[in-house]
Symmetry: C2
Subunit: 650 residues, 2 copies
């Protein structure tokens, strides 16, 4: 319940309506000043935010890291003028910063919100992501933190066309997230014209209800109605998330643009801004603070620990939070015997279980394939820390991002190919500065009979391109287990590529695998060629080296388990030692994978005299056995050996 649960009336109403006018005026002022931005999309939602921030959002603006704070996510990130105007009204952003910073170079008041601001949980601006992210935060609140904070998400009506919104509502109702409140600003107009459903609130109601939400339809400009709806939302509804459908008018408050097309994403020219501000009663400088979270206030300590899994005051980033050492296996980590055949996906599951014992903040998610990715091992051991996302990869990534907001250490898994379903979410997670770990199984043609739809052949390219990402591709169970531990300690997006089949363990459990390193598995002073592989192709490189050795040809073999960052030094040294002769073999399409990573690194390092053969999957594969498909793609031991011989002879 809000601290002011009675229906808003009288003096309160007047004050809130003044605040709403200020939010509109400031949205206009900052966007006109910047010469860009979305004032009309802000004005439609100003009444919602005025009521929310003054009456319902339980937030300690002086302690944004307090675990007990409510969360406010602008899924319609283009309404950033409104969000920043809320920050001004809360007294945490000055009018000067708003007017001179908004959308300017070097300013934290970016065109769309990002977590460079301490009050922003996640970057938004790619529509349909804020609500799924909010599901992740709400999962943390209900199941892990076990704190009574609420997650308020402002959605646009245009973004209701994104499937991810329905993945979010589906999961929110499945997980009974009554702590999640979506406020949909139904202003009828998108960017280029009317939305699909315009003001058909009943259609939205049918949909959201069918997906399990409790739905409240309101006039989004009636402050008392808004207040009543928020109060109802706070009171919960037997485990349902709440969707508040607010019928609003785009540009509300300035008669020249109200409900008019052609004003999306356009600031008002100065003369119009003057008229708009006049119509809205001029500038104001109200500072308004709403309720504080329960248990906080002048007489209590800020940032009181939560009741969940060891939530700490002023929670640092998860990576710092993880104890132990990234290059040391977790206590109880699996140990494998040299030569034993173990699938790296199996080692992922083993390692995750061990990590879960060591780090209580490790949580896992999977897209209904946990028996294939082996995340099921974690789910069995720690059922309370595992979230089944069913076949909804976008929501799976978003949930991981939301859990990262709450300082958990999420590992999300599915077939590597299916992370492509959520690439926009991964891209945005990087902008959100989220710390999430992704494990993709069933890489490449090695999977065999299932065929190309299930084969990840673009995943290394996709993941390497992500800002600040870590891309790991182990070849054996020992290195997999070590890298899973390392991932828990990484910032940003970490990706682990695992293989379907079982291959021999190559390393003793005492071996360390620093991120950015590599392993030289065969080396002699007489090496004539370097063979570089990872995953299944490393085993092929080793077999090729053995074949070559039979003819007295020595090959250096490098296990490039860290694709990004990459071990340029070892690669350059190998190139120098083997007269520039390099064979890179990978179970991936030509562009952007292992071969490109090596090429990029060596060219950037200025390594000269390279003679480079790149073996990879060049044709569209079909079904078959692993060996048939690896041979057909030209990435098996025989082809590596032949390429090496050709380089040596050449």
């Amino acid at each position: 319940m809000s601290n002011e649960a009675q229906v808003l009336s009288g003096v309160g109403l007047v004050r809130v309506s003044q605040l709403a006018a200020q939010l509109r005026v400031d949205s206009i002022r900052c966007s006109t000043s910047a010469g860009s931005g979305h004032p009309t999309s802000s004005m439609s939602a100003a009444d919602l935010l005025a009521v929310l921030m003054s009456q319902h959002l339980r937030y300690d603006w002086d302690h944004p890291a307090d675990d007990r704070n409510d969360h406010l996510i602008f899924s319609k990130g283009h309404a950033s003028p409104l969000l920043y105007s809320v920050y001004k009204a809360a007294g945490v952003v000055s009018d000067e910063e708003l007017m001179t910073g908004y959308r300017r170079f070097g300013s934290r008041l970016e065109g769309h919100p990002t977590p460079v601001l301490p009050w922003v949980d996640v970057a938004t601006g790619s529509l349909g992501q804020g609500l799924p992210d909010g599901v992740g935060v709400a999962l943390a609140g209900k199941y892990l933190d076990r704190l009574p904070y609420r997650v308020w998400v402002l959605c646009g009506d245009s973004e209701m066309a994104e499937g991810s919104i329905w993945e979010a509502l589906d999961k929110a109702s499945y997980y009974q997230l009554s702590n999640l409140i979506a406020m949909v600003d139904v202003n009828r107009l998108g960017q280029r014209g009317p939305t699909e459903l315009q003001w058909d609130l009943d259609a939205y109601t049918r949909r959201a209800s069918a997906f399990g939400a409790r739905v409240l339809e309101i006039n989004g400009h009636d402050l008392a109605e808004i207040d009543e709806a928020f109060t109802a939302a706070e009171e919960g509804s037997g485990g349902q998330p709440t969707v508040i459908l607010a019928r609003t008018i785009k540009g509300r408050g300035f008669s020249e643009v109200e409900d008019k097309e052609g004003w999306h994403g356009r600031p008002f020219p100065p003369d119009m801004a003057i008229r708009a501000i006049a119509e809205l009663g001029g500038e104001r400088d109200l500072i308004v603070r709403g309720p504080l979270p329960p248990g906080t206030g002048p007489d209590t300590e800020p940032d009181e620990p939560g009741t969940g899994l060891g939530t700490e005051p002023d929670m640092p980033a998860a990576a710092d939070q993880a104890h132990g050492h990234p290059e040391t296996p977790a206590p109880g980590a699996p140990a494998y015997s040299l030569g034993e055949e173990v699938a790296t996906r199996k080692a992922y599951g083993d390692a995750l279980v061990a990590l879960g014992a060591d780090l209580p903040r490790v949580v896992a998610l999977d897209g209904e394939v946990s028996n294939s990715t082996y995340a099921m091992e974690f789910a069995k051991t720690y059922p309370g820390r595992f979230f089944e996302m069913f076949i909804a990869e976008q929501q799976m990534i978003a949930a991981a991002v939301g859990l990262s907001v709450r300082h958990y250490i999420p590992f999300a898994s599915t077939f590597a190919a299916f992370f492509s379903r959520a690439y926009d979410f991964i891209r945005m997670a990087a902008i959100s500065q989220a710390n999430i770990r992704l494990a993709g199984s069933h890489a490449g043609v090695e999977i065999g009979a299932d065929g190309p739809s299930q084969m990840a052949l673009e995943d290394l390219a996709m993941m390497r391109a992500v800002h600040g990402s870590t891309v790991l591709y182990p070849s054996d169970a020992t290195s997999t287990a070590a890298l899973v531990t390392a991932m828990a300690h990484r910032q940003g997006i970490s990706y682990l590529r695992t293989t379907r089949g079982a291959y021999p363990v190559l390393y003793d459990s005492a071996e360390t695998f620093p991120v950015g390193g590599s392993k030289v598995l065969r080396s002699s002073p007489d090496d004539a060629v370097t063979l570089i592989g990872a995953g299944v192709t490393l085993h092929a490189c080793l077999a090729a080296a053995d074949q070559l050795a039979g003819d007295g040809l020595r090959a250096r073999v490098i296990d490039l388990y860290s694709v990004k960052p990459i071990d340029t030094g070892t690669l350059a040294a190998a190139a120098a030692a083997t007269n520039g002769r390099l064979v890179v073999a990978e179970d991936h399409y030509p562009a952007g994978g292992l071969g490109s990573a090596v090429a990029d690194a060596l060219l950037e390092a200025g390594v000269q005299g390279l003679r480079f053969t790149h073996l990879c999957v060049r044709d569209l594969p079909g079904s078959g056995s692993s060996q048939e498909l690896l041979a057909a793609a030209g990435i098996d031991a025989g082809h590596i050996e032949a390429a090496a011989r050709e380089l040596i002879a050449g």
Copy 2:
């Protein structure tokens, strides 16, 4: 209406039940023989398919390319044993092929269906894509072909968790696709256990109804009920798509596995298969043909022309269909004056309008940003050939794939960043051998104030990695217009990256721009360095060259408008002429873009002596002006000039 619209009864029922048993038996036989596959997922849907293929699917199996045929898409592609058993029952695949080909190397009976088979429209196997693809085919049927074929899509219940299914139903109802019939095989069990909604058919009904479908709940093992539902679906429903929710039992027909967990994606061992086949009454070899499309039959010509936009008999691939020449601008193509400042996204719109006049099969789609991508120009000129997909990028790509199935030449546009939302669909489109064209506007930090959520900085990496893709990145309006024409004639996935801002026209309209080519814009015998750019950075390269020329330093400048395929010859010649000194500047993250494309090409070609400087976006950008952000990223003229000087001095 079906040719046999009366409710199935008597002899018909017996015959269909024998067919259903055959489909189950053959699904078991082929998967057991292959040692992999999904028999239980096939058995649950066997009754649906038996009724469909014998009574309702209007399909001339001898002329699969006949425009009047119904379409059958297995959105649950893992039920391929069932699909291929249907082909056997239709007499187009022999029992021998089924038993020795299924999932084998080199066979067309792949683990999941792909269009290497003439009866398969699209590759499936990544769940939640077949229904969206079907929306595209149904759009073509209703609005372009104007033919009465129906699109039957078999969906799994697990895939109803994918947001893309709801994007599909949303668009199907928005576009009143009563020719689309989704049959949902609600067998309650997913891969690792029960589905989210299990047998709660009412929940599915509420959802599908709310999204505008007419919903029929049936017992999916009652042949008469199935028949009745299909008849009702065929009769149409005032513009609504039909969703048939069939309550089924996974593994139906073999009591040992019926409704049991642990049997997803597992063939029966031989002894179990023997028992299963016995329980199902043994092997059969029925050949069953259902109704033919209206207007076809023994006395009519196959492949009668459709009534739409010039549909031709035995329609060849769109690329062959396009008349004109790919390197010649369409008649009425826009012409731009040298030096005139025109945004490439604007030129895209201009060129698409001209192309639309030349090629009546060109159609366009956009994700609610057509005023930004300039697809709106096409929409205004050819409203009947434009499909607004609102903010549903996955469905947009799927619709393009479906239109490509019907031999249209689709161009789909949105902000380049938002194609990442549909990467799995693009990946699968390549496996579908679809011919689709994608135009992504607002590339890179150049967009300025909107910030990183709107900046495509991974798109070149993502698109280059796609099998068989073409990646184009023009720098001026003339080359953009030419490349749009070229795209219409390309097979596979073609991607055009356009820029937000207006930059000078560099080329006369007589110039040609072959895919795989490049342009040398500055060249002399004394060139000391090569500057390589595309889009905004090409203009920066030209400015840098001018600055260098002021000091008597000559720079070769290459417009790398074709990123894939790439003009290795021109790049190698430039490297040779400029002592290996190359500066590549791109508005993209480091991995997988222009720099990687150049590095990959030159290393593969064995070019020696390279001194390579790669300027790209290395830090997470924020907001600002184009110039500020280009400078901050180190990819503006000043940085290119400095890098060139350093290379020359080094």
